[in-house]
Subunit: 152 residues, 2 copies
Amino acid sequence: MAELIKFESTVSFLLAKVSTAFRNSLERRMGEIGLHGGQIFVLFELWKKDGQRQIDLAKKLDIAAPTINKMIKGLIDVNLVERARYDDDGRSTRIFLTPLGITMRPQIEAQWLELEEYCLSCLNETERMILFNILNKLRSNYTGRPDPEDGE
Amino acid sequence: MAELIKFESTVSFLLAKVSTAFRNSLERRMGEIGLHGGQIFVLFELWKKDGQRQIDLAKKLDIAAPTINKMIKGLIDVNLVERARYDDDGRSTRIFLTPLGITMRPQIEAQWLELEEYCLSCLNETERMILFNILNKLRSNYTGRPDPEDGE
DNA sequence: TAAAGATTATTAGCCTGCTAATCAAAATTA
DNA sequence: TAATTTTGATTAGCAGGCTAATAATCTTTA
């Protein structure tokens, strides 16, 4: 006779729940400043390096080509980025920040820090560090992308 | 002049990345046995108590009414559950497991444990326990729903 | 009883993920 | 050069989240 699992006792169960809850918080917080949850990650990459191709953004964000395409559409709709074609390659488009996309950076970053504080308010400094390290391990395990200090 | 954040250094950043990666793993693993990622949580609640109303399932799973509605549609499509109306309340529908929904339980649970093992393969036993406890705190923080031992 | 309010399910539509399929352009190879 | 393959962007369509709006059924209240 098969053992019946206690789903609530698995880490995956909790991870799924926290994942969904976090995504909702992210969406709500970013909605307060007129953004959607996923868009901030695109902006983050463009702030590091403007004018990247869609395919390169997708690779850095670990998302598929159609996903980045839709995200960029949304960002264009709210006038945060724009597309530009170059003569050197007729296939690709380069994504550039608009002036608004540049000037909104501090506001978006402040909102991000608020989200961070809200999410982690139940954890002390030690727990936060531990969680950070464990999540880093999980991320490497999933994506094969090691800790930040390895560069890209 | 505004301080520029290092996004990668925030826990929220890693949590977002791990969330997405986990959801992808979940979808892939469950796809192997003909299911989708979210459906397992509905089944899990029905295994605990069959014949629940949609609204009650939604509350227990912390999801919105339209979401549970779509999920149940999908489960009906693959013949794992079915709807039934009762005379006592013409508004609500009760969701019941089909024979397949009952007999597939061990297979689904085995797949779940495989996912668990895959996700956590980079963590030792201590780290898993620590992660479990921290995730539990985060979950309470988000949903106001405390640890399992508090009952429902 | 009749009217007003609350509850349940559903539809429409959006964002974030995905895969599969297309199309155009570039690169490679015969 | 010509044919083939690869690459980059896009569209269509699906699942899982959401909110807002409807419709139908209870429940409550006047």
